[in-house]
């Protein structure tokens, strides 16, 4: 049995939900950012898979879209980690549950 689109879709669904579980359950900002990256990457996998198995792949839309997504993800990671640093400097902790100034 050769590889079909479904293989890649199932894999990316599993990876996406692993990322989602992590983002929802972990208590560490950097781990949460990592989980965001995992989710973005599984989406990229989907894009490339759809492109690869599409009937007319010549316009290269899949790689193009993924390229833009990676660029944006890189920006997001840089900004997110800079914000983590700023938060740490201000609160002296990066536990998301102890940063609740607005709530109190």
């Amino acid at each position: 049995m050769g590889l079909t689109l479904h293989h890649f879709l199932i894999l990316s669904a599993i990876l996406f939900s692993i990322g989602l579980v992590g983002a929802l359950t972990r208590r560490h900002i950097i781990i949460m950012l990592i989980c965001l990256e995992i989710m973005l990457n599984s989406a990229n996998l989907n894009l490339i898979a759809f492109w690869h198995f599409s009937p007319n792949p010549l316009p290269l839309h899949g790689p193009l879209f993924t390229l833009f997504a990676i660029a944006i993800a890189a920006t997001e990671a840089a900004l997110g980690l800079a914000l983590v640093l700023a938060i740490f400097r201000h609160y002296k902790t990066i536990d998301p549950e102890s940063i609740q100034d607005l709530k109190e």
Binding site: I10, R27, I30, I34, A82, H90
Partner: protein, 182 residues
């Protein structure tokens, strides 16, 4: 190709799974790097070699290092053993995700017998074509991305360093010795 896919899929799932379960943050980052490299392999498997190179360059070479730097600058790596790893309502989060996964996967699994389009045999996407496409119809988006990256990086630099000077001014003790000649 089949073996390669299953191997890489296993590595990817393992990497991602370890990343969200390990207590040691640095270990988590290294396992997510494993996940990124497995994904680069999968891209290579689907003939998107430029994307694979960019994946390695951006995710492993830069984002991973950035994360390690952020960890080194902020937390205790091993984590506080008294602090729980999971957040308060973690059961609900997990259940919601499992439900979502089931919802997404059920239609797919039920239809695995259905044929999907076969991969192309004589089509070899080259980097040159990608470059051409980037230059001709999508030039504006390339410009927008470039602008976004620049703005994002400047923002990151400002967010990471801008506040520090103000903070440092506040924390300087009043009786700090003054060294005029240094």
């Amino acid at each position: 190709m089949n073996i390669a896919f299953y191997l890489l899929a296993l590595v990817a799932v393992l990497g991602a799974g370890l990343a969200i379960t390990l207590r040691n943050v640095v270990h988590a980052v290294f396992s997510v790097l494993l996940f990124f490299s497995a994904l680069a392999g999968l891209f290579l498997l689907m003939l998107a070699e430029f994307i694979a190179a960019v994946q390695v360059l951006v995710y492993i070479g830069s984002v991973g290092i950035l994360m390690l730097f952020a960890i080194m600058l902020t937390t205790n790596v091993m984590g506080d053993p008294n602090r729980p790893v999971r957040s308060r309502g973690w059961v609900w989060g997990g259940l919601a995700v499992i439900a979502l996964l089931a919802g997404v996967l059920l239609p797919l699994i039920s239809r695995t017998g259905g044929q999907t389009p076969t991969p192309l045999s004589d089509f070899n996407p080259s980097v040159k074509q990608l470059g051409m496409v980037l230059m001709d119809p999508y030039f504006a988006s390339v410009g927008v991305i470039a602008l976004l990256l620049t703005a994002g990086l400047i923002g990151a630099v400002v967010a990471a360093t801008g506040a520090s000077e103000a903070d440092q001014k506040k924390t300087v003790p009043a009786n700090r010795p003054n060294y005029p000649n240094t």
